[in-house]
């Protein structure tokens, strides 16, 4: 099937305005008759639930944490992009659009990216109005910093906690609607099934994580804002509870999964210290404004204290390879460059898997106090984890899985191929192509939540009669029964291996064979080993406790079971895409100097996978990508 993204046509500058006008509206008095389910309350879900509630819809919002204030958007450090052009440095909506298309290695839809760039400015205004304390200069104006993949300063920030402040802004707007009664909040709920009635999304089945009870909720539309899936690598910068489960359940009910192989490996994370480790911690990309990446030129210097290695014996490899972008090269490129140095035997720290991020030049230039003001909390966090003082010696960094550009397929209205199912934020695939630029995730989450879905969902709801399906519908009963059987099966195996042993093993396979570099052979190895591991899981996993209770072991077992299926799809997608682009690097397809080599003739499309039943191969559908404004070109940062 050739998929249609239903993008508006005509001059790109007019597409969103024209589309907004063309969308049907729901009369204000009729909005209260419609109910919308919002799963996930991070930047996208929180902003959307608040905005839809404000418009007058009845919203039911769900999160697995004990409060919507804890979604993992909160951990984003560096900032949020907008095309305000306050610094007078040549920025514009068009340039943000261009940088994002190029940064995504020409694998995103032009119209979606244009809309993102266009509404970026509204986001900043909205957050300021909410009381988000963005950094200001001494005259009281908003301050900007630079980020990777751009040569202008367009990143707004709140110290090293921008995600936290933006999320708390959305949470405050959401709290206001909860108080007003337009949003009903369901904390500590995990979505375990999508309920589809006559081909239309009409509700969800959730597990109440406190009581273990399985609950049904019906609505006129279902929105998933359930984040990314890079915990499939086991060790990642995601929170422990982040999973593919909600998206995977929707996939198994017919929603297409697009570009799962586009995963972002973030270049600057604290290296792994031991096998017991449960997660990896990111250090903001903003550090590369002042930090310089290097490794020793000579292998014999590896044992030395970094401060004893002479300046001429240091290889500032990003500045050497990419003189015009230098340390602000985009993430995919910076990560591969770090790996390349370590593969060459010049990596530092335990196991030789690390590079230095050095602030000594910046400290000499602007003083330690200024650096402290810019990144104090990050230096503190680094010291807590490593016991090293980064003002005195360079940080050690290594790439780690961080973000998923792939996600459920959506059209321009953010609706999946299942009518009534919308997907927002990181959970969809739409704007980042094969690589996301820094400070763009916050932008997308809030764009989708505040300024896209409030319009596009109306266009859908105006075409359906409200309240036609209730939880009395047999599909809801069947869904609860299915979830219950699945849960009981997990609890009944009583094998010998723990859930986390399986998850570590899967993560190891994914990282080794489908991580920063992939090959036909490594992927084929995974396509054999993952199904075998999955089979073993269903025979030999040990899950303790009961179903009708707070049972974290059972929660993890369910998420791991889904990752064991999803990991295979990710590898299958990576295997089919015989090119390198952005975060998807196939070693067979690289230029003579080791850069990603795209194949626009054969792979300039979105690859969306359809579930065809257990034990059957999924079917690939394609949505061709057309570039009418930004011309397909070799992506260069040299």
């Amino acid at each position: 099937m050739i998929l249609d993204g239903k993008c508006p046509t005509g001059p790109i500058e007019k597409t969103w305005d024209k589309h907004r006008f063309d969308l049907k509206l729901v009369n204000p008095a009729n909005k209260r008759k419609y109910t919308v389910i919002m799963v996930g309350t991070g930047l996208a879900g929180g902003a959307a639930a608040a905005s839809l509630g404000e418009l007058g819809y009845n919203v039911m919002a769900f999160c697995y944490q004990d409060s919507p204030r804890r979604a993992h958007s909160i951990a984003a450090q560096g900032g949020i992009n907008a095309a305000k052009a306050y610094p007078n440095d040549g920025d514009s909506i068009y340039r943000l659009f261009y940088d994002t298309i190029k940064g995504g290695d020409f694998r995103a839809r032009e119209a979606d990216v244009w809309r993102l760039a266009q509404v970026s400015n509204n986001i900043i205004d909205q957050c300021v109005a909410q009381g988000v304390p963005f950094a200001r200069d001494y005259a009281g104006y908003l301050d900007n910093r630079s980020f990777g993949g751009a040569q202008v300063s367009r990143t707004f920030y709140a110290r090293g906690q921008t995600g936290q402040q933006l999320l708390l802004g959305a949470y405050s707007a959401l709290s206001r609607q909860i108080k007003a009664g337009t949003v009903k909040m369901y904390n500590r709920r995990e979505m375990l099934d999508l309920v589809v009635v006559d081909g239309v999304a009409k509700g969800i089945t959730c597990r109440n994580l406190i009581t273990g009870e399985l609950e049904s909720y019906a609505a006129d539309a279902v929105c998933l804002a359930t984040g990314g899936y890079v915990n499939v690598f086991y060790l990642s910068t995601n929170a422990m509870g982040c999973s593919v489960t909600a998206n995977w359940k929707a996939y198994k009910k017919g929603a297409f999964f697009a570009n799962p192989c586009y995963t972002q490996i973030h270049p600057t994370c604290i290296p792994q210290a031991g096998d017991y480790q449960s997660k990896l911690t990111l250090m903001s990309e903003s550090l590369r404004n002042d930090g310089r990446c290097w490794v020793p030129k000579k292998k014999e210097d590896l044992g030395k204290h970094p401060n004893e290695i002479a300046e001429e014996d240091r290889d500032y490899y990003l500045e050497r390879k990419y003189p015009s972008f230098g340390n602000l090269a985009p993430r995919d490129i910076a990560s591969r460059a770090a790996k390349e140095q370590c593969d060459d035997g010049r990596g530092v720290g335990p196991g030789g898997r690390g590079v230095y991020l050095d602030f000594s030049t910046a400290i000499k230039r602007v003083g330690e106090n200024t650096i402290k003001e810019r990144y104090g909390n990050l230096f503190e966090m680094y010291e807590k984890i490593t016991d090293e003082n980064a003002y005195k010696r360079p940080m050690r960094m290594y790439p780690a899985p961080h973000y998923s550009m792939g996600g459920l397929w959506v059209d321009y209205n953010l609706m999946s191929n299942i009518p009534g199912l919308f997907v927002l934020g990181e959970a969809n695939f739409s704007v980042h192509g094969a690589n996301r630029l820094g400070a763009s995730a916050l932008m997308q989450g809030l764009a989708d939540g505040y300024f896209v879905i409030p319009y596009t969902i109306g266009g859908y709801l105006a075409t359906v009669k409200p309240g036609t399906v209730t939880t009395e519908n047999p599909e809801f009963k069947k869904s609860v029964e299915d979830v219950k059987n699945y849960r009981d099966k997990l609890l009944s195996i009583n094998g010998k291996k723990t859930v986390s042993e399986f998850m570590r093993e899967l993560g190891g396979l994914m990282w080794e064979n489908c991580g920063m570099a992939r090959s036909k052979e490594s992927l084929e190895e995974n396509l054999k080993k993952i199904p075998a591991l999955r089979e073993e899981f269903w025979k030999n996993v040990k899950v303790t406790g009961a179903g009708a209770d707070l049972n974290q072991d059972l929660e993890n077992a369910g998420r791991t079971a889904d990752f064991l299926e999803f990991g295979e799809l990710l590898c299958r997608d990576a295997h089919h895409r015989n090119e390198s682009c952005g975060g998807h690097f196939r070693v067979e397809f690289q230029t003579s100097d080791g850069e990603a080599q795209r194949d626009d003739e054969n792979y300039c499309y979105v690859g969306a996978w359809e579930f065809k039943g257990a034990g059957k191969d999924p079917e690939l559908h394609k949505e061709p990508l057309r570039f009418e404004n930004v011309h397909l070109a070799v992506r260069s940062y040299k």
Binding site: D66, I124, P133, Y276, P350, M381, T544
Partner: protein, 252 residues
């Protein structure tokens, strides 16, 4: 990967089946712990052993494990988050302990935070306080340009100092009166310091203080245990700010 010396520790962990069940300390041994384990990774090790022997693992709240989501909540040796300055439990590392140590681990203890199971408590009272007024009532869209309001840097910095609160509940857990004053004041002070928050300042502070009382939190009697326990170092000066704002509101 690591060839560090390992530690063996004795843990006394609060186990409680449900809100209405009696709880008690159970003793466990944590073996093979290195200085690089985080405190929660040390509990992960103990839990793996428990699962393997068919016992229910210790239930505890945690999520981001990088000190920002505010989900983790344990009282360690009598101190919420374990006593390292400006540090959440998830960022506390085992290098702060030594081989042979005995450690007591308990949930937050405050009337307004009922225990759900083991180390997990219900903190929805904090959401209730925010819902009472911890926001500016702006609609999505229709707001002025971000630079239309100039905010002096000291005011923006002051607001940010307050806004760093992660809502973990350590302040109330540390307070002898189980007061939520530090938490409430951080939001009140953030918004009172900014021009966007001024129009609703009086209504906000009154509603939030009322909600705090209704949730069952006590009042502040200046012990400052909250500031000492706060993993973000939120300063008690914001409580003074709250009191002033509250007083001002009464004369409106």
């Amino acid at each position: 990967m690591s060839d560090h010396k390992t530690m063996t520790l004795t843990l006394n962990v609060w186990r409680q089946k449900g809100p209405n069940d009696p709880g008690k300390f159970e003793t466990y041994t944590a073996k093979g712990i290195t200085e690089h384990h985080s405190f929660l990774e040390m509990i992960d090790v103990v839990n793996e052993d428990l699962i393997k022997s068919g016992k229910e693992p210790i239930v505890f709240d945690h999520d981001c494990r990088e000190g920002i989501c505010g989900m983790c909540s344990q009282v360690i040796n009598g101190v919420p988050h374990g006593g390292q300055e400006r540090t959440t439990v998830c960022q506390l590392h085992m290098r702060k302990f030594k081989d042979g140590d005995t450690i007591f681990i308990e949930p937050w203890r405050a009337t307004a935070f009922p225990i759900i199971k083991d180390l997990v408590v219900d903190r929805s009272a904090y959401d209730t306080i925010i819902q009472a007024g911890g926001y500016t009532s702006c609609h999505t869209g229709g707001v002025p340009d971000g630079n239309a309001l100039l905010i002096p840097k000291p005011d923006a910095d002051y607001a940010m100092d307050a806004a760093e609160c992660i809502g973990c509940g350590a302040c109330a857990a540390a307070c002898p009166n189980s007061s939520a004053m530090l938490f409430t004041s951080a939001k009140v002070a953030q918004l009172a310091a900014l021009p966007q928050g001024k129009p609703e300042a009086a209504k906000r502070v009154t509603a939030m203080v009322d909600a705090m009382k209704e949730c069952g939190f006590g009042n502040c009697s200046n012990h400052y245990e909250c500031q000492a326990a706060c993993p973000k170092g939120i300063n008690v000066k914001f409580i003074a700010k709250l009191n002033r704002e509250y007083l001002k509101a009464q004369f409106k």
